[in-house]
């Protein structure tokens, strides 16, 4: 079997490396300190290494080090956030002090490229996006993904709904699948973090998935929300296959590598940040202002009601709350040379813009590192999070006005639905009273999650010019998510139902356990002539066990929402058992700090593909040339100090859905007799992963005295074996089957420009622009072209067809002919951030601009149907309501410009702290910040960032009156001890 052969090879390799022998040399001891060049503060934990060898040490709490020098006399001193320095130590010198300068533009940043190795950005052959700790959450973010918007070229964050708790899509480099997983792989401290989106069961109340489209529309949160953004030290984003190939069959959508904060050597540091604020609706759609004539025309007696009630503002009544926000974050860190720790806690409480909605998160994390016997590093992380979101009921529905959006548009402004003096809610014309729904309906998600991860690295042997390290990493990610959906029988839309099914309560319980283990051997070899090689071989085993149980109770006893207080009870269960094995090998070579070569291969087998014995191969290769290091560059060096050209290739996979290979019979019971019915989807026992091959080219440059960097990348992905849901003629008894039957090409350009226009002692200005665009095209389709997503051709769908963008929108024109109406893919996107420090003041803001990208606004369609669209009394509105333009009348340009993040912070100067607070407080800052403060758009819905169908590859950009987006304001106080 393949697998044993590969295992055997890796073991042999590891053993042969163990036998290698080093050479002895004369040594002298050198000691000294490493300090910050600006502040003169000692830097604990800085790396001090002898160039051309694998010998190195780290500075202690006072920044001191001691190291033995052999023939090689050059020390390389480095630390995160500082420019690396090379210091030649003359023969005979034993004392050395090193001053490190801050690396503001991140030229020296070290990035993870393999599963166990890392490389400096300046040597990297891929465009890897990164966000450092201070840029992660300048303004509080409910969930991590929100904090990524606009910060990395090629990364698009778009929320599906504004409901508290998230539900956010993260896309890297455009469309790479049609039916498969769309979200990147999140790796937190080496552990793959589950990012499932679990349906709440709200569809049982809205019946959204019963007619028109049977795809779930509960707009769930995704579980990466459980991460505390404040604990993040850095985020690295491997955007495409060329960078992420080493993650194999799960890496087509890119990999987001998150490193959490760790303790640093030194005396204990305690930081507490308190933020309070509020949020309000970002953008209102408005509603039709009726005149007596139009009111009467819409409804008999309308004029009289209008005289009585006037035009009420239902958006204000429903979405008008100013929700209070409170976030307290604290962390404590410190450690000695051998032991380091980091402890943090978070209490976050946000009220939504709708009464009885909101988000709460409580989280704690402990990280401990211990060095043992001078050869073992042990690191353990544990975190526990509880999050709760109350999301009310929004979006599509088929049950008669159940959702707030439907109820609002189907309620003309002249009807008063406010409760009377006795608290009785009048019946609404939409079939529901949204104010009653807000007051009585519950849609709550509570998640408890624990993540445990550990890493043991052992120096198996070490010689002057080579070393072998064994790294064991393991982790477990366990959570339980509880969903409570209660639609009590008092609600107007429940009253319409038969008493036996009046009142719905859904209790959902999901438990998930994911584990992964990997064992890596890293061999490093350095020659005196400045060649260095790093070889990694490893084995990985992942498991996932997921169990979702839902109980649906109907016919509730009034005032009771327990599922056993009902006249009927039904149960649903969905389990996932997944096992994966991977083997990998990677070789990295650094030739004279000028040429960098990487080659790697990963082999993956998974329980999700048809042939579970088959290993799928994912190779990668890359080359980077630092032209500026060559002698011929010397004349150009004053102007352009760094110039690197790079090219990379890689292949990744995207696994089929776990159920794609099974023909799973479904229960069809008849009054107590157990029956089974063939499913609508036929299984495919030969299904294989989708494959993405990416070729990436680019260059990186630093110029203007290294105060400016430019990164330009072009990439091209060929996606083969696309998994498509082939439509079978339904007269076969089946509707669909997943098959590997297509190819797609995605190409794009990413440009990142970072400039420091001002860098003086008092004033510092850092400005960053990301530009990116991506284009996809289906290049081959073995099945007939088809429409995907949406509800029906007349309501706008997406066309999958050879030679056409997979996000192209199709519909019917006025004559009923199929016509293209735009594309959901944006023309380009730009993120523009600025960080301006003047004395003790720090101003930061981030603009996010999306140009183009069409959205199917079915909200307009519904309000036209209801006769409540604001512009219905204009000629354009009337024409649209009359159907002029066919489907195109509600396909709108989704261009927006958003002010994502703003913060203005005052850092109390150190001398004042000393003066006033006796030096017991080491840092104190206060300020104001905001998120999504401003949006400029012509889009007529709440927010062009929308997806009724959640995180799907094709079929986003469908707007059915979601929970509106909000803007948030915060007041911040941070104290460090």
């Amino acid at each position: 079997m393949n697998y044993w052969k590969l295992m055997g090879t890796s073991v042999l390799l590891a053993c042969s490396l163990l036998m290698a022998r080093g050479v002895q040399a004369q040594t002298t001891e050198v000691s000294g300190t490493v300090v910050d060049a600006a502040t003169e503060d000692p830097i604990p934990g800085a790396n001090v290494a002898v160039e051309g060898t694998t010998t190195g040490t780290a500075t202690d709490a006072e920044g001191r080090f001691e190291i033995a020098l052999g023939d090689q006399r050059t020390l390389v001193v480095s630390f995160v956030g500082y420019r690396t320095q090379r210091v030649e130590v003359p023969e005979g010198q034993t004392q050395l002090d090193v001053r490190l300068e801050a690396d503001v533009l991140g030229l020296e940043e070290v990035l993870v490229t393999g599963l166990a190795t890392s490389v400096k950005r300046s040597n990297l052959a891929n465009a890897v996006g990164s966000i450092s700790t201070e840029d992660v959450v300048p303004a509080p973010a409910q969930t991590l993904e929100r904090a990524l918007s606009g910060k990395i070229a090629g990364l698009t964050v778009s929320q599906n709904t504004g409901a508290p708790g998230g539900g956010i899509n993260v896309n890297l480099r455009g469309t790479s699948t049609i039916t498969g997983d769309t979200q990147p792989l999140y790796v937190v401290d080496g552990v793959v973090m589950d990012n499932s989106a679990i349906q709440s069961g709200l569809d049982f109340v809205t019946e959204a998935a019963t007619a028109g489209s049977d795809r779930p529309q509960g707009q769930p949160t995704n579980r990466i929300a459980d991460l505390n953004p404040n604990d993040i030290e850095s985020i690295e984003v491997l955007k495409g296959a060329s960078a992420s190939a080493i993650y194999g069959a799960k890496a087509t959508n890119g990999v987001v590598i998150i490193t959490t904060k760790r303790g640093r050597t030194g005396s204990p540091r305690l930081n507490i940040t308190q933020q309070v604020g509020f949020n309000t609706i970002l953008n209102k759609i408005g509603s039709r202002k009726f005149t007596p004539e139009t009111a009467e025309a819409l409804m008999e007696g309308g004029a009289e009601l209008l005289a009585q009630n006037g035009n009420l503002d239902y958006e204000d009544l429903i979405y008008g709350r100013e929700g209070f926000i409170n976030e307290t974050a604290a962390n404590l860190s410190g450690g000695s040379e051998d032991t380091r720790y980091y402890v943090s806690g978070l209490v976050q409480n946000e009220d939504g813009i709708v009464e009885n909605t909101g988000y709460q998160k409580y989280s704690g994390q402990v990280s401990v590192e211990q060095r043992l016997f001078d050869r073992l590093d042990v690191r353990a992380n544990a975190s526990l999070t509880r999050s709760q979101s109350d999301r009310s009921i929004t979006g599509n529905e088929n049950e008669g006005g159940t959702t707030l959006g439907f109820a609002q548009v189907f309620t003309p402004a002249f009807i008063d639905l406010r409760p009377d003096a006795e608290g009785i809610y009048p019946d609404g014309p939409a079939g529901s009273n949204p104010l009653q729904t807000i007051a009585l309906l519950k849609n709550r998600e509570t998640a408890n999650r624990g993540i445990l991860s550990g890493r043991i690295s052992a120096d198996v042997f070490q010689a002057e010019n080579q070393s072998l390290e064994l790294i064991f990493q393991g982790g477990a990610d366990v959570y339980s998510v509880e969903h409570e959906v209660v639609s009590p029988p008092e609600l107007q839309f429940e009253q319409r139902k038969d008493p036996s099914v009046r009142g719905v309560s859904v209790a959902g319980e999901t438990t998930s356990l994911s584990t992964n283990f990997s064992l890596n051997a890293v061999h490093r070899y350095t020659t005196a002539s400045n060649l260095s090689f790093s070889s990694t071989a490893g084995f990985q085993y992942d498991t996932r066990d997921f169990n979702n149980v839902q109980a649906l109770a109907e016919g509730l006893v009034v005032t009771q929402d327990n599922i056993d207080q009902a006249s009927s009870l039904r149960g649903f269960q969905n389990r996932l058992i997944q096992r994966e094995r991977g083997l990998f090998f990677q070789e990295e070579a650094d030739l004279f700090e000028k040429v960098f070569l990487t080659a790697g291969l990963r082999a993956d087998a998974s329980s999700r593909v048809g042939d579970t014995d088959k290993f799928f191969l994912y190779p990668k290769a890359s080359v980077a040339l630092r032209l500026s290091q060559f002698d011929f560059w010397a004349p150009a060096r004053p102007a352009i100090s760094e110039f690197k050209v790079r090219a990379a290739f890689g292949r990744t996979g995207n696994l089929p859905r776990a159920d794609a290979k099974y023909t799973s019979l479904v229960a069809e019971n008849v009054s107590g007799l157990g029956g089974v019915l063939v499913p609508t989807r036929l299984g495919n026992p030969g299904i294989e992963p989708e494959t993405t091959e990416e070729l990436e080219f680019g260059f990186d440059a630093a110029f203007l005295n290294e105060r400016s960097t430019l990164e330009v990348t072009y990439y091209r992905q060929n996606i083969t074996d696309l998994i498509l849901e082939n439509e079978l003629p339904t007269s076969s008894g089946f509707q669909t089957q997943f098959i590997n039957a297509g190819e797609m090409r995605t190409a794009g350009i990413e440009v990142g420009l970072e400039v420091m226009p001002l860098a003086t002692e008092k004033v510092n200005w850092r400005s960053r622009v990301n530009f990116f665009r991506t284009r996809s095209e289906v290049t081959e389709l073995e099945i007939d072209p088809f429409e995907l997503g949406g509800f029906a051709l007349g309501l706008g769908q997406f066309q999958i067809q050879e030679g056409v963008s997979p996000t192209a929108i199709v519909g019917l024109d006025e004559e009923g002919n199929k016509t293209f109406f735009g594309d959901a893919n944006p023309d380009f996107q730009i993120g523009f951030s600025n960080d301006l420090t003047v004395g003790s003041f720090d101003l930061y803001f981030l603009w996010d601009w999306k140009q183009g990208g069409d959205v199917i606004n079915l909200g307009i369609f519904l309000s036209d149907l209801a006769g409540t669209t604001p512009d219905l009394d204009t000629p354009e509105g009337q024409a649209r309501a009359a159907g002029v333009g066919g489907t195109g009348r509600f396909v709108e340009d989704g261009t927006y410009l958003k002010l994502r993040e703003v913060s203005l912070i005052y850092n109390v100067p150190g001398r004042m702290l000393t003066q006033w607070l006796d030096g017991q407080v080491s840092s104190l800052s206060l300020g104001l910040s905001g998120r999504n403060l401003f949006m400029l758009t012509d889009y007529k819905g709440y927010d062009p960032e929308v997806s009724q169908f959640g995180n799907v590859a094709i079929g986003r950009a469908v707007d059915v009156l979601p929970f509106p987006s909000s803007r948030s304001f915060y007041l911040k106080l941070a104290v460090g001890f």
Binding site: S132, L470, T612, E668, S671, L682, S732, E787
Partner: protein, 453 residues
């Protein structure tokens, strides 16, 4: 950012393989090798496959499958036959597309019921395949007779939707399989019924499987054969083959002396994996979606109890909106009360229809007296005086009685079509876009059945 992964131990000049570390690594590797070598071939954790289930569960699946999306079928054909409206606020197609067209070959109004019928057929075919492996003789004949009868019924419902466009009868995954025309489709349906009857006749005195209470009185091979012949009567009356109708009725359960509701039903319950009645809504609710066409009131003979029991007339009730926005300009104050609860059984075919079929065949053969007797039986049950039947009024009378007797059971549109009277149905006027409705005679072939569509 991340610190350089660098070896941070002090420089050492001698080579020292770390025994402890090697030991640890070997141990971890061994542990990993053990946990990592489980088989990756995992059985479907969520559902059984067709090879493992019992024949009984396939039988029940076939029975239950007939109910899948039958609600949509009824909503659609009763709207097209101007028997009822369905004011669905969440889906404008019930009051838009069905009135103004074009009928969408890819839309769910057609595709959901169409697919559900073939899915039930697929289950029945799977049942026969499994029965061929696991059963023999009378036992196998029982499964086959049951399966073939259901297949015929399911094909007939789809033929009702497409009419002259025909249906597919090969149940093949090859999209190029052609449609067969209406006549050939009828022949195929009759073949299934007749083969099914043969099987039932050799299936012994009892089935080896259970059917639900909806088949009470029909759950033996002989009883089921009566159901089979009742369907045969319906198929033949659609072809005006009056002799064959009367022959088929001979073997059915038609009985002028029996309860008109006696027959074969779909049953419903709130139990797990079960379904609810396809037409029931609380009739007193303010936002009832399914409402009878206003002409059902204006055309009713005074005192016709079928009108008073099958709808609730809320005319004049303040606060009950006859034309909610989902109505698209249509209006009705007549919630449908054909079923009284969400678990009430819903008929597949019952005695009243068989009497009407007999009357129709007799009219076709000129036996007006026999027809009049059956129609009067039905009128009496509805609290109406007997009405004389003449050659000139016979078809009108028949269609009136069928309309009120079989209201919401899916017949009106088919009846008016086969008598070429669709143009007599009220067109109705809708507001978006403002225009008179169209009376459609059939659906186009579903998009998924036509290559390149």
């Amino acid at each position: 950012m991340r610190q350089p992964t660098m070896n941070t131990s002090s420089a050492r000049t001698e080579l020292r393989p770390r025994a402890g570390a090697v030991l640890l690594a070997a141990w971890l590797g061994a542990v990993l090798a053990v946990v990592g070598c489980d088989s990756l071939d995992i059985k479907d954790p969520n559902a059984p496959n067709a090879e493992d289930v019992t024949l009984q569960s396939l039988v029940t699946g076939v029975e239950g499958g007939m109910r899948v999306d039958y609600d949509i079928y009824l909503q659609v054909v009763s709207t097209l036959g101007r028997e009822a409206y369905f004011f669905e606020p969440a889906d404008p197609r019930f009051t838009g597309e069905l009135f103004t067209g074009p009928l969408d070959p890819g839309g769910f109004l057609l595709n959901r019921p169409w697919q559900a019928r073939y899915r039930t057929i697929r289950n029945a075919v799977t049942l026969m395949e499994r029965a061929a492996e696991d059963a023999e003789g009378a036992e196998k004949a029982g499964y086959d007779g049951f399966a073939k009868t259901v297949i015929a019924y399911q094909l007939l419902l789809n033929l009702n939707l497409l009419d002259e466009n025909g249906i597919k009868v090969d149940f093949s995954q090859d999209i190029n399989t052609p449609f067969v025309g209406k006549a050939e489709a009828f022949a195929e349906i009759e073949r299934y019924l007749d083969e099914g009857l043969n099987d039932l006749n050799s299936a012994g005195s009892a089935f080896t499987f259970e059917l639900s209470s909806g088949f009470e009185g029909f759950n033996t091979p002989a009883g089921f054969a009566q159901f089979n012949r009742a369907l045969r009567a319906r198929v033949t009356i659609y072809q005006n083959d009056y002799g064959a109708v009367l022959d088929a009725l001979e073997g059915s359960f038609v009985d002028a002396g029996a309860d008109l509701d006696f027959g074969v039903y779909h049953v419903y319950s709130t139990g797990t994996g079960d379904r609810l009645n396809p037409v029931f809504e609380v009739p007193t609710a303010s936002s009832v979606k399914l409402r009878a066409h206003p002409s059902f009131k204006t055309d009713a003979e005074s005192g016709d109890q079928r009108f008073t029991t099958k709808v609730m007339d809320r005319s004049g009730e303040a606060g009950f909106n006859p034309s909610p926005s989902a109505a698209n300009g249509l209006s009705s104050m007549l919630p449908v009360t054909v079923s009284r609860s969400s678990t009430e059984p819903f008929p597949i075919i019952r005695n009243e229809e068989l009497l009407l079929i007999r009357a129709e065949a007799n009219i076709g053969q000129g036996n007006l007296a026999a027809a009049e007797a059956d129609l009067n039986t039905i009128r009496a049950a509805a609290g109406l005086e007997p009405a004389p039947l003449t050659a000139s009024n016979a078809v009108d009378r028949l269609l009136y009685e069928r309309r009120y007797s079989l209201f919401m059971e899916g017949h009106r549109w088919v009846d008016m079509r086969r008598y070429g009277r669709l143009d007599q149905l009220p067109k109705d006027r809708v507001s978006e876009p403002l225009r008179d409705g169209v009376i459609f005679s059939q659906f186009p072939p579903p998009q998924d059945e036509v290559p390149g569509a």
